[in-house]
Each structure stands twice: as structure tokens, then as C-alpha cells.
């Protein structure tokens, strides 16, 4: 089976969905002739032309709003925001419009669109090229949110997102674009939006993660298995909204100890919701405190590499946290 990078998996997903469905088009800054600043849409402009791969003006609000309007009347737009840090001009259109249209029209209108953006730190991007923004959007009912951690899921989830009749936000861990490689079957497949994935079976500690952090969690889980004999149950959430509460709870009941790893700011980050869910619905199974390992409460990942390294969880800090919890 061929092994490809995360970014190539995303590109293939878009290519295949464009080929399959003429309603699909892509817009965003530099997506056309440049092929995307990360090359996520490389080759698609030549293949499909300027009417289907549209270089947008430098205006994120409009990138999303154009998508909303086109989606309402039957197209399937894929709207790229160049960096998740720049999504905020479009915030009103996303949380007050896209998220509400189905509900506020009693189902008469829907918005089948994809908003995709690279997120996360570790690439020397500083305060405005490294942010995690999923918590802002996960809070608003009406938006589906997926965060792939590997090429197989990235391709499958993006294809599902295009076919979903709702607004789906796809946050792609940019540090993993070329770093994370994996096997992807050559034929047609999708990964359903919703189900989380148990990526390692274990009995001592359950570790929840998504995106780049999941990649590190797998490394940490292997380390603590080898050196400390700690057996980790690892859950790759993959879909943040709608949350797979069944898998989250079942995986917790196996161990009674939960560590939630996310690179976003600690306070009110996505993992806080997992913690609340576990303490509410799995209280009798708790064998230790519900812990979170996160970025600090500072508004962005600093540029200097010493500070960047301090900010980001990594396999060593994750392993320390696992050991701590296992020993409780």
C-alpha cells in the first residue's frame, strides 16, 4: 500500500471529490495558480481550471460567506482559510450564519460547505501562524469539526466533509503536513464523521488526543510501555463535534484514569469538555483525577524556539504526565 504525507492525502481527497461531483469547487487565498501556500491544492488549478479552483481576494469573511451563499443554492464549496489564526474575520459568518441556517429555517435551507484551515504550532510560526481555534467553534452548535491525525483519516474525513450536508470545519495539523506519513489505500473510501478511533488498547491509563498531539501521544504510550510497563488506552478523537461520547466513556471505564492532551490553551480548551463528560457520566469508574496536558494560558505560540518548545506538549512531557497519573 502506498505511503503518503498528510498534505498529499488532503490533496487527493479534494481531487477525488472534485472529479466525482461537479458541484464541488475550491476557493481561498493562493489556492489556484500557487497550488496553496502549503501546496494542499497543487495541480488542481491546471486540472479543473479557474472556475473551480478560485483564487479569492484577501478577505476571509468573504471566503466563508461566498461559500455559504453558494452552498445554500446547491454547490459544494471547499473554503480554505490560509492559517487558522486568520479565521476570525469570518467568525460572525461561521458562528452566526453557517452554524444557524439549518436550525433557524426549520431545515428549509442547509449549508453543505467545508471550511478547512491549517492549525497548530511547532513550525516556527509565532503568535499568528500557530494558533489552535477549535474551541471557539466547537462551542457553537451547528458546526461539525474534524481534526485528522494521520493521512488515512485526513483523506477519508475530508471526503466525508465534502459530502456532508452541513458546515464542516477541518482543522489540519500543519506541523504534520509533511512530517506525518501513512498508508493510504489506492481506491475509493471515506472515514465517517463522528466515530473516534481507539488507536492503542490498554488497561492502566486512557489518553485522549487529536491532531498533532495524537501523533506524540502514540510515541509517549510506546515509551511508557517499554520503560515503565504502563499500558495505555489511546483514543484519537478525530471528530470534535459531534463527539463520540460512547467511545470516550467506554475507553475510560477500562482504566479509570484519563489524561487529555491538547496543544490549545488550557482554560476552556476542547479537552475541558471531555473532563466534564467523564466526571458526570463515569464517576463510579474514576480511579484518579481527570488530568489535562495542554499549552499554557498564553495567547499564542511564541516564535523563539526555546519558548515554542516550552509551549508545546511533546512525547517526553506526555510520558511524564502518563507516569504521574498511573502512579496516583
Amino acid at each position: 500500500m502506498p505511503e503518503i504525507t498528510l498534505i498529499e492525502a488532503l490533496r487527493q481527497a479534494m481531487d477525488e471529490e472534485m472529479e466525482r461531483d461537479e458541484r464541488v469547487f475550491i476557493t481561498g487565498e493562493d489556492v489556484g495558480r500557487r497550488g496553496g501556500v502549503f501546496r494542499a491544492t497543487q495541480g488542481l488549478y491546471d486540472k479543473y481550471g479557474p472556475d473551480r479552483v478560485i483564487d479569492s481576494p484577501l478577505a476571509e469573511l468573504s471566503i466563508v460567506a461566498i461559500g455559504i451563499g453558494a452552498a445554500m443554492v446547491g454547490m459544494r464549496p471547499i473554503c480554505e482559510i490560509q492559517f487558522a489564526d486568520y479565521i476570525f474575520p469570518a467568525f460572525n459568518q461561521i458562528v452566526n450564519e453557517a452554524a444557524l441556517i439549518y436550525y433557524r429555517t426549520g431545515g428549509d435551507w442547509n449549508v453543505p460547505m467545508v471550511i478547512r484551515a491549517p492549525y497548530g504550532g511547532g513550525i516556527g510560526g509565532g503568535l499568528y501562524h500557530s494558533q489552535s481555534v477549535e474551541a471557539f467553534f466547537a462551542h457553537r452548535p451547528g458546526l461539525k469539526i474534524v481534526v485528522p491525525s494521520n493521512p488515512y483519516d485526513a483523506k477519508g474525513l475530508l471526503k466525508s466533509a465534502v459530502r456532508d450536508p452541513n458546515p464542516v470545519m477541518v482543522f489540519e495539523p500543519k506541523k504534520g503536513y509533511r512530517l506525518i506519513k501513512g498508508e493510504v489505500p489506492p481506491g475509493e473510501y471515506t472515514v465517517p464523521i463522528g466515530p473516534a478511533a481507539v488507536t492503542r488498547e490498554g488497561t492502566d491509563v486512557t489518553v485522549y488526543a487529536y491532531g498533532m498531539m495524537h501523533y506524540y501521544v502514540l510515541q509517549a504510550a510506546e515509551m511508557v510501555a517499554q520503560r515503565d510497563g504502563i499500558s495505555c488506552q489511546v483514543v484519537d478523537l478525530r471528530t470534535l463535534v459531534p463527539l463520540d461520547t460512547k467511545t470516550v466513556l467506554e475507553s475510560f471505564k477500562k482504566t479509570g484514569k484519563a489524561l487529555i492532551v491538547y496543544e490549545d490553551n488550557r482554560f476552556l480548551g476542547y479537552g475541558a469538555e471531555i473532563a466534564a463528560l467523564l466526571s458526570d457520566e463515569a464517576f463510579e469508574y474514576m480511579d484518579g483525577p481527570i488530568r489535562r496536558l495542554t499549552g499554557p494560558d498564553r495567547p499564542g505560540v511564541p516564535f523563539a524556539h526555546t519558548m515554542q518548545d516550552f509551549y508545546m506538549p511533546n512525547p517526553d512531557t506526555i510520558a511524564d504526565a502518563i507516569r504521574d497519573l498511573a502512579a496516583y
Binding site: F25, D51, R52, S56, P57, A59, L61, S62, A65, I66, G67, I68, G69, A70, A71, M72, V73, G74, M75, P77, P89, N92, Q93, N96, E97, A99, L100, I101, Y102, Y103, R104, T105, G106, G107, D108, W109, N110, P112, P141, G142, K144, R163, D164, P165, N166, P242
Partner: protein, 341 residues
């Protein structure tokens, strides 16, 4: 009445190709919207409904615009004052009454939205919301879809002059210019954004002065002249339909009532100003014109008023009698089910 209008503007019917029946129908639409609107004000002052945001004063530009588009074919993305526009597109007085009462069976949102938040897939009305101007780039997106698909639909989007200060307005019209979209942006300039007068809203005398910055056509029209409004909108719609791009149409009009039932316009303008503008009322002017054309007389006017009153009474009674939505309707789903389309 004719004496009062000597100082006001006459109806300009240059180049109008509408037959008598259509002219009378347009008059009826304007009266119908006005009487329905007036009835809802009464209901509010009686304490029977919680909120009303009115379109009184705007009937000329709205009916003119609605009749200039291909209803049932083109898309309309409207704003909260567009009662006359919506009725012309096929919304019924009962639909509107259900919304103001917040009753079950309200078709645009199941009474989840406040009234006057127009929406209907069947009638080609895109869903509208409360944050202003968000509809402009969305309408541009719908127009982009029409262009990409090669269908000959046009998208009309409306808003007030205050809303043109929002960034959404600029970003939407910028796309319309860059991609020569089949879009008509109709700004209904009624001089006040709630209480803020237009000279505090913009430094240019006309909203349409901004059209060149987007690379699109601009037009200014007397919004209280239903036929002039029809003509200008017709030109803009045909320009869009023939692939020649977008138009920013500014209709000059006036809002003789407060912004909404929660507003008190005595705090920011004189009664004299309001009374002056009432002399230039769109319905009054059109009535005088139709009388002069021999299409209306006292009997015909009375017959229309009676017909309209009956329709308003029926809608009012039916809505008042209708049940409220069950509380659990709050939990309508936020996601469309996957139908594999």
C-alpha cells in the same frame, strides 16, 4: 390630494412597458403590505404581540424591485423591512401574522426567529438573519453559483444604508466586481439607521457613489416612485442576466415610522420632517398617477381597501387562534441528516 403633490415628485413612467392589470396589481401589493403592516402596529400597541419592525414607507421600491425580477426563478436575499417585497414574492399575510404572534406552523423558522426574518426555499428567498449586511457576500456566493452553473438566474440582495458601513458589504461587492457576478444590490436609503442620520454614516452624498470602487455599475432612484424603481431595477436585473455584471442600486426613500416597536423616533427627528415626507408617500403618489391614467377612481380604491382589509382580518384571526409551538421545538436539530446526495 393633487394639490399636496404639486410640491412632491410625480411618478416617472418613462419607458414603462407594464399593462394596466399589472399596474393595478402592483398598487394592490403596496396597499396590502401597508395595511398588514399598520394592523401589526396596532396589535403591538394593544400589547398582543411582542415586537414589530416595519416596512412602512418602502412599499414603492420593494414592489418595483419584486416585479422587476423573475419571481420564482431569481433569488432574493432580503432584509427585515422587506414585507412588501416578500408578499410580492408569495409570502402570505397569514405567514407573516404567524411570525408576529410567534405561533406554531410559522413557515420561515417555526417561530425560532423574530418576525421579518424572511426565508423560503420554495419562493427563492435565501434565509435572513439579524446581523446586518451578512447577506451581501452570501448573495454574491449564490450569484457565483448561478454563474458557475451557467443558469440565467439573478440574485437580488437588499439592505439599508446603515448596513453599508459593515465590512461584509465591501467584501461581497468586491467579489461581485472581480467576477462580474449576476447580482443586484439594492440599498434602501431611508436616511436613518435607527437614530443615526446618513451624514454620520458616510462621507459621500450617495451610497451608489461607491459603485466604481467595486468596478460595478451604480444607479440612484427615487424609491418612493414605484415605476421609476421598477425601471431601474429592471435595467440592473437585465444587466446581470446578460452576463454584464452587478449593479449597486440606491433607492432614496423614507421611514415615517420608528425603526421598530422598541424605538421612539421623537428622540431624534422632528414631526415636521416626518410630515413632509408623508406627502411624498409612495402609495399616495401612485394612486394619484393611476387616477390620472383612469385606472383608479374612488370606487376602485374602496374595493381594493375592502379586499385588503378582509385578507388582513382573516390572517389576523387565524394567527391569533393558532397554538403556540410546543416547548420541545427548541430542540429542533442543528444538523441536516446525511441523505447521501
Amino acid at each position: 390630494m393633487a394639490t399636496d403633490l404639486q410640491t412632491a415628485h410625480q411618478i416617472d413612467d418613462t419607458g414603462i412597458d407594464l399593462d394596466d392589470q399589472t399596474l393595478l396589481e402592483m398598487y394592490w401589493q403596496m396597499v396590502r403590505a401597508r395595511r398588514l403592516d399598520e394592523r401589526v402596529w396596532i396589535l403591538h400597541r394593544q400589547g398582543k404581540i411582542a415586537f414589530h419592525i416595519s416596512g412602512i414607507g418602502h412599499e414603492g421600491v420593494q414592489v418595483g424591485a419584486a416585479y422587476a425580477m423573475r419571481r420564482g426563478h431569481d433569488y432574493a436575499s432580503l432584509y427585515y423591512r422587506d414585507l412588501a417585497f416578500s408578499l410580492s414574492l408569495g409570502l402570505t399575510p397569514l405567514d407573516f401574522m404567524l411570525a408576529v404572534f410567534g405561533k406554531a406552523g410559522e413557515p420561515t423558522s417555526g417561530s425560532r426567529q423574530m418576525p421579518s426574518h424572511w426565508s423560503s426555499r420554495k419562493l427563492g428567498m435565501l434565509s435572513s438573519s439579524s446581523p446586518v449586511a451578512t447577506q451581501v457576500p452570501q448573495a454574491a456566493g449564490a450569484a457565483l453559483a448561478c454563474k458557475l452553473r451557467g443558469d440565467d438566474r439573478v440574485v437580488i440582495v437588499t439592505l439599508g444604508e446603515g448596513s453599508t458601513s459593515e465590512g461584509d458589504f465591501y467584501e461581497g461587492l468586491n467579489w461581485a466586481g472581480v467576477h462580474q457576478l449576476p447580482l443586484v444590490c439594492l440599498v434602501q436609503n431611508n436616511i436613518y439607521a435607527i437614530s443615526v442620520p446618513v451624514h454620520l454614516q458616510m462621507a459621500v452624498p450617495n451610497v451608489a457613489d461607491r459603485a466604481p470602487m467595486f468596478g460595478i455599475a451604480g444607479a440612484i432612484v427615487d424609491g418612493n416612485d414605484v415605476l421609476a424603481s421598477y425601471r431601474v431595477m429592471r435595467e440592473a436585473v437585465e444587466r446581470a442576466r446578460s452576463g454584464q455584471g452587478a449593479t449597486l442600486v440606491e433607492a432614496k426613500t423614507y421611514r415615517p415610522v420608528p425603526h421598530s416597536s422598541d424605538d421612539d423616533d421623537r428622540t431624534y427627528r422632528s414631526r415636521d420632517e416626518v410630515e413632509e415626507w408623508k406627502k411624498r408617500d409612495a402609495i399616495l403618489r401612485f394612486q394619484v398617477y393611476l387616477r390620472e391614467r383612469g385606472l383608479l377612481d374612488d370606487d376602485a380604491i374602496a374595493e381594493i381597501e375592502e379586499r385588503v382589509r378582509q385578507e388582513v382580518d382573516e390572517a389576523h384571526a387565524a394567527a391569533e387562534a393558532a397554538p403556540y409551538p410546543p416547548p420541545e421545538d427548541t430542540l429542533f436539530p442543528v444538523f441536516a441528516p446525511d441523505d447521501g446526495a
